[in-house]
């Protein structure tokens, strides 16, 4: 299935996902950028949703995603300073979602909660991510 940018792509299960161009092009210097394909971005979201790696936030749902590859996390994006990012964050209101690569080192709100990190990594890495420290994912 071909997914479009800046379009509510129908995932067929009542959920819609928009790949936002602001998080795909370098035109906005303050936002993180996906470096994987739109297909991979949406696949990442689908995996996140199917595993219920999400929780309520302020007036929205917040989801978290990774792309696991041979036991390691694949690079899925970069921050404004071109540093690699490996965790995705998704926002959803009324089953309409979008997401971006999360920069937990520069934004403390981009740290996944403990209960989700428990499913992804060992406690040593959990501690580093929650503490905003460098971590080899």
């Amino acid at each position: 299935m071909k997914y479009l940018v800046d379009y509510e792509n129908n995932l067929g299960d009542g959920h819609y996902y928009t790949s936002v161009s602001q998080h795909r092009h370098r035109t906005n210097s303050e936002k993180s950028r996906w470096t994987v394909s739109i297909q991979e971005e949406i696949d990442c979201f689908i995996v996140s949703k199917s595993n219920a790696w999400n929780h309520p936030g302020n007036n929205k749902m917040i989801g978290w995603g990774i792309i696991s590859h041979e036991g390691r996390f694949k690079i899925l994006g970069e921050n404004c300073e071109y540093n690699d990012l490996k965790i995705a964050k998704f926002f959803g209101i009324n089953n309409k979602w979008h997401g971006f690569p999360a920069d937990y080192r520069n934004n403390e709100a981009d740290r996944p909660p403990m209960n989700i990190l428990l499913k992804w990594v060992d406690k040593t890495k959990m501690r580093k991510i929650r503490g905003g420290q460098k971590c080899n994912l």
Binding site: A109, T124, G131, G132, Q133
Partner: protein, 396 residues
């Protein structure tokens, strides 16, 4: 020839997240979501009795202050002379640990805390929803006391350090550094933005620059960052009141050295890690604004195999440096102890009168409790590693 004062160790088997030691109790936060409260003095005493260890061994793990007290020089000499008789590594199974269990509580927290400290019978924790406090006393039933848990502030935080007097330094990542003044003590914060000011406490934003972890250099706060430059938020005593003096960037402190990728401090010491090594500077708070408050003591190479420094701290017995591949203790007697990783969490207790020689290291399947006792025999004024410990009158 007197024995070398090497660190002693107690290993406790189990899957832990964090540990605290306070008033004779060892608090273990488990990965299963419980908090075990262990009778620590009883546990240490049981090994002294069982293995006929000299009783002075208790100073190492239960009462470090006794060694510093000048009125008890005989014990200090005895402790050292008997050092060869002390077990270097005691291993405790969960079965044995549970013999000294006072209580195992279901954790009152919704999640594992990001960071925590104990102060005046309360456990302060950082959760996803903010800063919380929980009463620990008068009994050990923390589940019952979960009703006492209070959210003090709803900010997203990375690390906290509490200073005697009720001042909590809070690192909030990109949001900067804050102080939580528990008792709303009279401190002159100058023009700083007061975030919250109620009758009982006050929250002030002291720096907007990225803060990874804080530390207390006397009454000043050092805000460490490996994303932006680190900052010293300098306070000084003026007319018998502590008041804000100014913000000093790392380039002002480590002026003659290449830019450090991580700086930290505590007490009278400040450190900067750059490619090639560490720069150590002495901080003289009373000289802020007058004569030089910073005096470079030493530059020392640091072994590359240990990896980049990601976290650090300073105690009386030395400087703790967490690298990618190891935890390194640069001891106040200039010896070095390396602890291999991976390390989940390490913790020291600089405010603890009886346990300020402890280093707790949480690993994958155990907690290691180290006791460092060399500092009692180290001339304080000459120390490069570790802050000056007052009231140690030992003379070699």
């Amino acid at each position: 020839m007197q024995p070398l004062i090497q660190p002693l160790k107690i290993e406790i088997q189990g899957d832990y997240w964090d540990s605290h030691i306070y008033k004779g109790r060892l608090y273990l936060l488990t990965m299963e979501g419980t908090i075990k409260v262990i009778n620590w003095d009883e546990l240490v005493g049981s090994y002294i009795e069982k293995y006929h260890i000299p009783s002075e061994f208790s100073y190492a793990f239960s009462d470090s202050t006794s060694l510093y007290k000048n009125e008890n020089p005989i014990s200090r000499i005895t402790f050292r002379n008997q050092f060869d008789a002390y077990p270097r590594n005691i291993q405790i199974s969960e079965r044995v640990l549970n013999k000294h269990l006072l209580k195992e509580n279901i954790s009152p927290f919704n999640e594992l805390p990001t960071d925590s400290e104990i102060y005046l019978d309360k456990l302060y924790t950082l959760q996803d929803e903010g800063l919380y406090s929980l009463d620990l006393m008068p009994n050990d039933d923390l589940t019952i006391k979960s009703n006492s848990m209070k959210r003090l502030w709803d900010c997203s935080l990375l690390s906290l350090r509490i200073r005697s007097g009720g001042r909590i330094a809070l690192s909030a990542g990109s949001s900067g550094l804050y102080e939580f003044n528990i008792f709303n003590k009279a401190i002159n914060y100058g023009e700083f933005n007061v975030v919250d000011n109620n009758r009982e406490s006050k929250i002030i934003q002291l720096s907007k620059s990225h803060s990874l972890f804080p530390s207390w250099n006397h009454s000043s706060i050092f805000s460490s960052s490996d994303v932006k430059d680190s900052v010293l938020i300098a306070f000084k005593w003026i007319n018998k009141q502590i008041g804000f003096y100014g913000l000093l960037e790392q380039k002002d402190i480590f002026a003659n050295r290449s830019k450090g990728y991580l700086c930290w401090g505590s007490g009278d010491k400040l450190y900067s890690a750059a490619d090639g090594g560490l720069t150590i500077v002495k901080y003289i708070q009373e000289n802020i604004g007058g004569k030089s408050a910073f005096k470079e003591l030493k530059f020392m190479p640091f072994q590359q195999w240990k990896g980049e420094i990601i976290n650090a701290g300073v105690t009386s017995f030395g400087t703790i440096v967490e690298c990618e591949n190891a935890l390194v203790i640069l001891q106040s007697n200039n010896e070095v102890t390396n602890i291999k990783g991976p390390i989940t969490k390490w913790r020291v207790f600089p405010r603890a009168v009886r346990y300020d020689n402890h280093l707790h290291v949480v690993k994958d399947d155990k907690l290691e409790i180290y006791s460092f006792n060399h500092d009692y025999y180290t001339k304080q004024a000459n120390k490069h590693h570790g802050y000056l410990r007052q009231h140690n009158n030992y003379e070699d």
